[in-house]
């Protein structure tokens, strides 16, 4: 029996661990899973490849997929993928990100969308209708003010604003996407940060910060406290769908509602994230790896994942998989329909890196004093990174 070595990012949650457990108990080949702190995963994987010591497979944040594929370090899965009967119902965003120059290098492993959550108990306390989802940002701001009025450590809104590019692309860009703008041009060759929509989105957040509706800690939260909502003292927050599972299983006392994130003009949008499954080029255990992936895509696998909060990756059986689970999961599923994912080889440099232009832009523009300066410097830095990568 073969042991498949596989790395996942730490904090991925129980969903994947349980699938591996289930698989290992029923199959001859085993998956040996190593958790790597998520902030170092990419670097470590890349170094390991350089040293010829990479694991057989990796659960990779899908946004990195193009870069690794472009570097030729991943196994080409095109033929096998296309032979899968359910290939066409796999999450299209993931497949798109897994594709480089028409070849497929990554397939969806976990699907993740961003959604908007509110705390029904706090709504009730603040005299709001707990069952009515807010439909635009004026409403959200107004609700936040009422919730903030409840007292000292209760706040109306939260976001990880301390330079967490990954958090903000996930929860904040839907505000402009919904209104039809984007931060990169369609071909990813031009930075288009400075749009009226973005200015408006920034204003909304600035306004809430200024009114003290957001905890002070937000300004320095680099993502470690992304789920502050779980402490029960935050009225509203944009979260990932995975949080629904976390909330349900870990914090059953929190009574919350979920809806799509409204754009600045009210039209909702979302970010389709999650992990792709990639195989290191040249691994000798490719068959075992494929066997494992097929198990993940099976009904059993999908059900286990969903049970622990991960959205189904197969559209064709999604409804069946979610049967009997928390109905709020459906919102996450629905988000896939309106969700976007930027496709760029420089995702890390531009957006995800804590020191990239996007991360510092969100912090500077929302918390800083010089909004115009934040726009112009981020715009030019993004452009120069894009240019230097050509």
């Amino acid at each position: 029996a073969e042991n498949v070595e596989m790395w996942v990012r730490s904090g991925i949650g129980d969903a994947f661990k349980k699938v591996v457990e289930a698989y290992n108990s029923g199959h001859e080949s085993k998956v040996v899973m190593t958790e790597v702190p998520f902030s170092e995963l990419v670097q470590k994987y890349a170094t390991a490849i350089g040293g010829g010591q990479a694991p057989d497979a990796l659960s990779m944040d899908l946004i990195y997929n193009p870069a690794f594929a472009a570097a030729g370090q991943l196994e080409d899965l095109t033929d096998w993928a296309k032979s899968l009967p359910y290939f066409n119902s796999l999450s299209p965003s993931h497949v798109r990100l897994g594709t480089y120059q028409d070849r497929i290098y990554g397939l969806p492993l976990s699907v993740e969308t961003s959604v908007f959550a509110w705390n029904k108990d706090l709504y009730k306390k603040a005299g709001l209708d707990p069952e009515k989802a807010p439909a635009n940002w004026d409403e959200i701001t107004a609700n936040a003010e009422k919730i903030r009025a409840l007292g000292d450590d209760t706040y109306g809104f939260y976001f990880s604003g301390g330079g967490c590019g990954g958090c903000m692309i996930f929860t904040f860009t839907p505000l402009v996407w919904g209104a039809g703008a984007d931060i990169l041009s369609a071909d990813s060759k031009t930075a288009t940060l400075d749009t009226p929509q973005m200015r408006k989105a920034v204003d909304i957040y600035r306004n809430m910060v200024k009114k003290d509706l957001v905890p002070a800690g937000a300004a320095s939260d680099n993502g470690a406290n992304f789920l502050t909502f779980t402490n029960g003292k935050i009225g509203q927050q944009s979260l990932g769908a995975f949080a629904i599972g976390t909330l349900v299983t870990e914090h059953p006392d929190i009574n919350f509602g979920v809806t799509l994130i409204p754009g600045v003009d009210g039209k909702p949008s979302s970010f389709a994230g999650g992990d792709n499954f990639v195989i290191t080029k040249g691994t000798k255990k490719i068959d075992a790896v494929k066997e494992f992936l097929e198990y993940v895509y099976s009904m059993d696998g999908q059900k286990i994942m969903a049970k622990y909060g991960s959205l189904p990756t197969r559209g064709d059986i999604a409804d069946k998989v979610l049967e009997g689970l928390d109905p709020r999961m459906q919102v996450g599923l629905k988000a896939i329909g309106v969700a976007k994912t930027p496709y760029t080889l420089q995702f890390n440099d531009l957006i995800n890196s804590a020191n990239g232009p996007w991360a510092s832009f969100t912090n500077a523009s929302i918390f800083g004093d010089d909004v115009d300066g934040a726009f112009s410097s981020a715009q030019s830095e993004m452009q120069s990174i894009i240019d230097s990568g050509q």
Binding site: V42, Q43, A46, T47, I49, G50, A67, F68, A70, A71, G72, Q73, D153, G162, G163, P215, A216, G217, A219, S220, N222, Q346, N348, D349, S353, A354, N355, G356, A359, S360, N363, A364, F367, G368, A374, E381
Partner: protein
């Protein structure tokens, strides 16, 4: 030398040569480690710096282009100037604290050993651990400093120390002083104690007051020690990384990206390993130059004939 003894000299020459080999044999294990785990990687780094060397995929020889690129790299320049700023401030802060501390614990008196130990304790904690500890202490909601200030009524609202540059920088400087001052103190203490007490007494008889003794005796006589402490402190500050990485992740708004942090980002975030290597080589050159300049400024060599 006399010519007559040349035949007899032969066997003795041989013996001396054997003792050469013996000396080399003693340092061989150390040299082997240094060569394999330091010289080779450094040479390799030098080699990489002449390439466009992506993390994955084929590398391409580009000569000195990485070095030329540096000249127009404003982010590198920013990192350099931040590192210089940090080095200057932190070195001044460390000396401003460590020197009085060294004087404080110099004389043998009751409990002085305990004071030395206590001041030295933070030195034994890892920088990463210390950073983590202070991240917590500085945390706005769950930490100690902000809430304590608020509890004392000094501020109305617990301040988020890590959210603005000035307070975050101050926090880091305080953390580093807390962590490092004990070490510098011990080095300075060594120098202080090496000054014969008769010299101080002679100066007292000559009518020199405390400050004059410090100015005319202590400082000049401690030049060598100060040079050592300075080089250790400056080198450490220029290579600073952990505290920014862990405490502020380079923020707020990337204002705390040190040179090493920038190299780290270039190599492991942007995957420009070649460029990162070139930056490393330049940093190495800067460090060597700074050390030489410091030694020269303090004229360590000519202390005693």
């Amino acid at each position: 030398m006399t010519g007559s003894g040349s035949e007899i000299l032969l066997p003795r020459r041989r013996r001396r040569r054997r003792s050469n080999w013996r000396g080399l044999a003693y340092i061989a294990p150390a040299m082997a480690l240094v060569i394999v785990f330091f010289i080779m990687p450094v040479l390799f780094t030098g080699w990489m710096s002449l390439h466009n060397w992506p993390l994955m995929g084929a590398s391409r020889w580009i000569g000195f282009n990485n070095y030329f690129r540096m000249a127009n790299d404003t982010r590198f320049m920013t990192a350099l100037s931040f590192t210089a700023y940090y080095t200057v401030i932190v070195t001044i802060a460390i000396f401003a604290i460590a020197f009085p501390l060294a004087i404080f614990v110099e004389k043998e008196r009751q409990f002085v050993g305990a004071y030395r130990t206590i001041i030295f304790l933070p030195v034994v904690v890892g920088l990463a651990t210390a950073s983590l500890l202070w991240v917590w202490l500085a945390n706005v909601d769950s930490g100690f400093i902000g809430p304590a200030l608020k509890a004392l009524g000094l501020v109305e609202k617990s301040p988020n120390l890590l959210a603005t540059f000035d307070t975050a920088f101050l926090t880091i400087v305080v953390m580093v002083v807390w962590k490092i001052a004990g070490f510098t103190m011990i080095i300075l203490l060594t120098g202080l104690q090496a000054i014969p007490s008769e010299l101080t007494e002679a100066a007292r008889i000559d009518g020199a007051g405390r400050w004059q003794r410090f100015r005319h005796l202590t400082l000049p006589l401690m030049r060598k020690t100060i040079a050592l402490a300075l080089i250790v402190s400056v080198t450490g500050s220029i290579l600073a990384f952990d505290q920014f990485y862990i405490m502020t992740a380079g923020g707020p708004q990337n204002k705390m990206i040190s040179v090493v942090y920038y190299i780290f980002n270039q190599s492991f975030v942007s995957f420009n390993l070649g460029y990162g290597a070139a930056l490393s080589i330049v940093l190495l050159a800067i460090l060597v130059a700074i050390s030489i300049v410091q030694l020269w400024l303090l004229r360590v060599g000519e202390e005693r004939p």
